[in-house]
Symmetry: C2
Subunit: 457 residues, 2 copies
């Protein structure tokens, strides 16, 4: 054991207590009623960073505020920008939680709470790692900047303008993002690509008022029937999205990526069992991992309108709305796809209804070059901590900020995450492995040391 | 003016006050929380009938109670069974009401309230008519039985067993049902056919938990996408229901019915304008009226599952449910169609999901013979009151009890209703024309007189 391992071991309990205190704050970004908790979570982090010796501040945006902090300013050192998010998903369906989502519970090596893995537990890792280096060596090998946002779960609508507004302040050589998962338990993982997101809302209007289906059924537009036609027409029997031009810019993965992925410990039968299904439908001609990582998709998230209460109501609703998102892959462009999507939706709409398409959020897909020195520093740190070299994979989820780092700040991101595939992200009983929490802190501390060696000063 | 007209004119204000008192009780049958109001509405009616000299009682069922009353028992007179319902639809969407749904308001000749037209206003008509005959002649020309139920808006699940249990008590020569609309203002109308109803719920299950669409999108079943496929597959581009055998037992209307309907004051452009749409999609090859009256249809009423709140949530829900109903026409059989529907739904389900189909309510379609003496008595009463012969039409809605009267009690029903097409049934701002309320009372009083003349004693 070196000084890093020893320090982390000695501080385990307190590191965990910090996390628990933060998890208790229900900072749900999508619900306006939770705005006070958003602010409380931001303040908690600023105060924590301040206590560590950071220059820390809360930066307002048009939405939820950013927490920003710096430590170790020294013109001679490379700069790393550490990103995380303090906002969380809503906990619904609440009744499916075994313990309350905002009362963290430790059970069999996991902490259970909304946000445990996504992303408060992970966002604290680089901060605890910085503390570890400060307390064990008295100084930081790199110039550390911390940026933690409060709108990741709603598609980071203001992160782009914030990065542009504070471009000089945020200047860095590389970003570190702890918001991804390891491919499997004990298998250290670097993510070299993320899917993008286009999240839309399609509103269908029929008659100017709700109608009785007895009186009018058969001779009036039904917005729910119309939505079913539209949604059904967006994906064909082979799992292909039918929007014209949707696949034009899609890049296939490199042959060596496909080979590495084929050797990963992935069994489709175990995957089906984990999901509790007998088939994992998707685009024909691709493996499950390819479909999740490098193929675009389209999912419906919810449909409102009409009557969904107990019992029956024979209503033809005046309007109905569907939330639909597409996951995008390099080099699909969200704006272009949004235009193509809207055109297709209008074309699919049956007679008698009026259709509106709104874009609620979007983020570009990302690829990171595995040969970048920062990626190699990260691989070395992971190997030293986990005693095996990391696997390089892609992720199906979207972290909009990563593409903004590339485009606005011109820097690549190291996606070194410590979640596990069964952390129940966005679902009831979200959890985070404590072993990964502590290993993550050790690995990131080493990454910062190696970064200082490989990056040009 | 005869004694009937005079009495009704003198009692207008009090007849209306009775109605308003009843409308104030929010007797929503589909919401369990409203059970006390259901009981209050039943008690109100029983007490009102009792005060008129009826033998009146509340009869419990497995669901909401029936109100039953008798007057004028005399073995020598024909018996009429007057039916109505005291339950109402939920008022949602509440925010669309200009005045609160359970605080009746009189405006420009209409009373506005949930249940005004469907059916409290209409259910009171034969009762006020009975009062009119009693007070003007001191006796009733027929033996009157009153049956008012509290479950019509939830598909009358217990009316069949109640009719069977009280077959002897309910014995009658004919039923009178005031729960339909006139074809147009000032156009007295008899309805000679009703569509039936099959109301179902289709539940689709995917993974055993909610999934993150980033992590899993493209390689996991999405119950909402699956529902869209199922719902979309149930009706084809020509507006035909695709369930095999769905149309096998459908009877075309008689040529004279089609001729009479073609001469009705109906303009498709005015219909479209009234609905606020530019097309009234439906089955190809049939007129709007035919599609509403004698063609079966399929409508989606609501879809639950996933996220429908403000903002975005990238969830693939573990399950989703749709409420779907079919309107049936003679001689479709609800049980047979339910079996065929379930088979088709299972066949349309994409791989990876499990599907359950539940029947929530059903009622048979009905036709009444226009040559029946009671129909002729009704036509005469309407002509005397409105100064023009009634039109004979069909109705698209379902009144399950009418088919039960035919099958269980062996009696036909006279469907003499006084609603108007723009009464906003099942929608915000439901209303009932006061002119029709009073004319209805006069017409039904005359109908009872003529019934005594034409029916065998």
């Amino acid at each position: 054991m070196d000084v890093i391992d020893t320090y982390v071991e000695n501080q385990q309990q307190r590191f965990l207590e910090d996390l628990i205190a933060w998890l208790r704050i229900p900072s749900i970004s999508t619900l306006p009623s939770h705005r006070p908790h958003i602010e409380e979570a931001a303040r908690w982090l600023r105060d924590h960073l301040h206590a560590l010796g950071f220059q820390a501040e809360i930066i307002p945006t048009e939405g939820h505020p950013l927490v920003y902090a710096e430590h170790g300013k020294d013109q001679g050192k490379p700069t790393v920008l550490m990103y995380g998010h303090y906002d969380v998903q809503p906990p619904d369906p609440l009744e499916k939680w075994r313990t309350p989502p905002f009362e963290p519970v430790i059970e069999e090596g996991y902490v259970y709470a909304r946000g445990a893995s996504d992303d408060k537990g992970q966002a604290l890792i680089p901060i605890h790692a910085t503390e570890t280096l400060l307390r064990t060596s008295g100084a930081l090998p790199v110039h550390v900047k911390v940026l933690v946002e409060g709108e990741e779960e709603i598609g980071s609508p203001n992160i782009g303008s914030s990065l542009r507004a504070h471009r000089e302040m945020l200047k860095a050589d590389v970003a570190l993002v702890c918001d991804t998962a390891m491919f499997a338990k004990d298998l250290p993982t670097l993510v070299t690509g993320l899917r993008g997101l286009l999240y839309t809302e399609v509103e269908v209007e029929g008659a100017s008022r709700d109608l009785h289906s007895g009186q009018y059924g058969g001779a009036a537009p039904n917005p729910l029937n119309a939505l079913a036609k539209i949604l059904s027409g967006l994906v064909n029997r082979k799992g292909r999205v039918t929007i014209p031009g949707f696949y034009t810019r899609v890049k296939p993965p490199a042959p060596e990526e496909r080979r590495m992925w084929a050797s990963l410990p992935f069994r489709e039968d175990a995957y089906l069992q984990e999901l509790g299904v007998d088939a994992a439908p998707g685009e024909e001609g691709f493996t499950v991992l390819e479909r999740r990582w490098v193929r675009p998709t389209l999912d419906v998230h919810g449909i409102s309108g009409g009557f969904t209460g107990e019992g029956i109501k024979t209503v033809i609703p005046a309007r109905a709305t569907a939330k639909i998102s597409m996951r995008l892959v390099p080099d699909q462009d969200p704006e272009e796809i949004a235009r193509r999507f809207a055109r297709k939706v209008h074309r699919l709409a049956p007679p008698g209804v009026r259709v509106q398409v709104r874009v609620l959020a979007s983020g570009r897909p990302v690829v990171v070059d595995p040969a970048h020195p920062a990626l190699r520093a990260a691989a070395r740190a992971l190997e030293e901590t986990f005693r095996r070299p990391p696997v390089l994979i892609r992720e199906g989820g979207s972290i909009p900020v990563v593409s903004h780092f590339q485009e606005i700040l011109g820097i690549p991101s190291v996606l070194m995450g410590f979640g596990l595939p069964d952390d129940n992200l966005h679902a009831p009983n979200e959890r985070f492995s404590l072993a990964n929490f502590y290993s993550g802190i050790r690995a990131v501390a080493r990454f910062l040391l190696h970064l200082a060696e490989v990056l040009p000063r």
